[in-house]
Point group: D2
Chain length 312, copies 4
């Protein structure tokens, strides 16, 4: 249950079997920092090539292919007074005919007020002069080394996690990743101070973070796609194009979870999901889109108590 | 501002320029009933062919192509002690390989307790014995006659509304439809006592409703897709396959709304949506899928006050 | 086996249960004309609203829901000295980022030389001065009245046929449509003098046609999607978005055809298709895209002879 | 202009910056062998892990990022008396409801007759007893190391080529790849004796090959996606899901080619493609689908002569 303070001195723009920067044990906590998605550090200085450079990989002792890595996001703190975002919708999120009306994407700068916990535009855009938005820090890109010894660019995502840009990957969430490489090789980065669903301008408010997370390991538990939970929900993530396929992956993974951990058969799982499922859209910008399949814990609570009674 | 009590004696399974069943004026309220999606009435008796038979069409005096019809959903009351749902996921919402593990879809019966406002399975499914779900009544299918004199089956949806199966079409919501035919020709039906996002088993809890709604008209205001609002959000609906395209329609329609009614240009609209947009999935089962693009009213409130100040 | 010369005096831009313009019997031949997709006649005069106005519907005696209508395209003759096409790619067939480089779509005029059987640009486009293209006349839009009493705009397509824009719908092809309404109600129109795969500028060379076709009927033979054959191939058409889904429909329909008419089981059909299938893209422009699944008749010839021998 | 006989002793199931197995110069020819997609050699002995193990990478002297690698496929010779294929359609190429009717996928063995140039089933499937199919050898998977230092599994494809499973990658074709790594790092493998469009059972007739190819280099010519040509066509390949997006990539790449090499502007390129484009489907099975955009050389011949005259 060690607590590691780790200061990165290099970053990767692929997730793969790179040399670990730190070895940690299940139960350990890491406090570290991330550069922003453009490769700039806490001072706004470019220190590494752009497109989601990652801190890590962290080698988790004992993790083997077929296990599940548990990552609890303890704290995500934007640690710079300014963040950057795009200010024009991505061409792929509007009607094809409408693309002609999109100008090129200039970047805008946001002031981050850590005391009030708010962001505001440094140079107001007409109509948005009074805009003050509460910070909702989240990790845009994190996950483990992919299967088959692959090294895959941090602009995309798949079963190993990656650039999912889901708002629910915020402090308090516990995230589960399938392990494909010895040590799992955890990467974290791409902090967003705020982001709407879908990352539809292609960015959130891109900023540097101080990150604190705690890892654990579930030996011999194999999952297919990233899973997670928070106080209210359990959830699964599917990453693919089109959104339809991402949704298929997430839904199938949720059924498998209900089958294994709650002992529901496919009819019970279907009935429960049919009435109670909720979907979130992670991103619709990256090469692979992300759909989140959520189930409220309250309906599982009811259900388990029933099964418990039944077993008496 | 008349209040009409209307008892239907026929139903349509297409939305089109059918003879109106009632003529109403802007400001009028209608209290009527709907059969369930299988064509059964309040007694469970089959009275009309299945697949979302509609009550209507209601002819709204003064409505002309190019106007916007306003429909306020005042009250949606399930009025039968039982509802019906499918109990197996639709093959198109799971991984193609997983379809082999889906049994055929038997229907299950739900008891509806109007006093406690809850639904429970009439014959418990193993694992779900204790399941009690709060009623969240919503209209699965409603809208106006389509463009070009078309008559389109009530299993699908498009610009005119139709079978969108969005949970947010519940009491308290105000919905806007583009008008394509004189009188708009409003249809309502397909009540669901409860439904998860996406209608992923192909049904909600299908039930008869008593419906109360009030109409209004915005002359000369042309919109492209259904829009709506409730206490917290304004929202737009896009209907198409794949989900990606439905999302493009909904997002583009939201930008147009922000441009016209809040005088934001595309950069301001993009920036606001990029940070604050939320997406819901209406259905991923019908021939056209539905994506909802939502913007919290609180961020618009801030913005408008800024503009107001600016104009002083 | 009558031969009908039919001169249309009205046109429909929806396919639905409209009053028949002519009653014909199985075995009969019809010679008629079609206006171009913009509603202009053989003299280039606008005579009816645009978007694929149809000649018909022709009521085929004896046709009932559940039958199959057979349409042999005997002759398709462009009968006007000029045709019209768009000159810019549709925004949905290029990368979203590339749409900004597409100008608005001006129409261009083509001279049609019936003696040489060629088309050339009336006003040359720089680089295309020498372009002479052989005529390949095809029907862009044809089919029968849809299921469920629907009337659907002639800009789209589905199980009943419609705006499929497939180059293979040319003279010599025999096409099969499922019958949904008494009399089948056959519509024909939207002649193209030439068109590339996919109708990627949104038009072919739009022109008026003299059309000659012969109908037949297969009583009690139910099919799911349009089918066809020519000298070399049997083929099926799937209409949907995305192309993936259109391909699924076409492939499934082909398997069903092989199962019923050639008595192949799914393993034999799969093996044969896996090695011999060919796909064409009908259109990627209309609301529903079209994919054609083709199987060379030569491989079926081999196969049938084998079965015949086996049965001796 | 050396001719290298190269016998591989290891294989890669990722395409990435692996140590080259041979250094060759532009103009050189390589004669080598490939194992089948299951990792079996010319004797049917498993020698390496499955899923498209690649021969290579070949380092091409002088190739730098931003160049174009030219690969002429001189000869593809199946060199084993038997090949293997799947015998059931992949679940993703049929209607979701139809998947329940697909059995699990048993492999079948094909006898390859090199004298007659034919394949036939070793154990006949009922109905296919007489099936004899002409060999059409093609490379299922080949390409160069991807961008950004990635190593990507040989089950998929992208800008660098990969598992495109296009029937047109046969002897006589010249293929162009963008260069992302010094030396380009060419990989070849996954020989198919025969394959239908789309690789819809998930395999062709998987077999070992003797491969002969000749490389060249176009310094400073940057392309976005694989291109190719044969006697009749120039073509481009787009790799993505859904097919719609693959088609967008391929079409956009073709426009860029016409703009740069034939000096056509977007209107001329659109008009030409609108009338003359043909699309092929490479695969609809792998994680990324493949669409080929083809233009007949005959229409370019006409066009160039016009431009040539115009320049006099």
């Amino acid at each position: 249950m060690a607590r590691h303070e780790f200061t990165p001195d290099r970053y990767y723009t692929t997730m793969g079997p790179h040399p670990p920067v730190l070895r940690i044990a299940p139960g350990d906590t890491v406090v570290t920092t991330t550069v922003d998605s453009l490769g700039c550090d806490v001072n706004g200085t470019p220190v590494t090539p752009k497109f989601n450079p990652m801190t890590g990989p962290f080698f988790v002792e004992g993790a083997e292919p077929g296990d599940t890595l548990v990552v609890h996001l303890d704290r995500l703190t934007p640690n710079r007074p300014t963040g950057i975002s795009s200010s024009v919708l991505a061409p792929n999120v509007v009607d094809p005919e409408f693309v002609r009306q999109l100008p090129e994407r200039p970047l805008v700068v946001w002031d981050i007020d850590p005391v009030r916990g708010e962001a505001s535009l440094q140079v107001p855009i007409p109509g948005l002069e009074a805009l003050r938005l509460p910070l909702e820090p989240m990790l845009g890109c994190f996950g483990v080394a992919p299967a088959h010894g692959q090294s895959i660019a941090t602009i995309t995502s798949a079963e190993y996690g990656g650039n999912m840009d889901y708002r629910g990957f915020c402090a308090g969430a516990t995230v589960y990743f399938p392990v494909f490489e010895p040590g799992a090789l955890l990467f974290v980065g791409d902090g967003h101070a705020i982001q709407g669903d879908g990352e539809i301008t292609g960015t959130g408010i891109e900023i540097t973070f101080e990150v604190e997370f705690t890892v654990d390991l579930r030996k011999g538990e194999q999952i297919g796609w990233p899973r997670g939970e928070n106080e209210e929900y359990i959830f699964t993530a599917g990453n693919a194009r089109p959104l339809d396929q991402a949704l298929q992956h997430a839904t199938t993974e949720m059924v498998r979870w209900l089958e294994r951990d709650w002992k529901l058969d496919v009819v019970a799982a279907s009935t429960l999901l049919g009435m109670c499922v909720e979907y979130d859209i992670g991103n619709v910008f990256d090469p692979a889109y992300t759909v989140i399949c959520k189930l409220p814990k309250r309906v599982l609570a009811n259900m388990v108590s029933a099964r418990t009674k039944g077993e008496d």
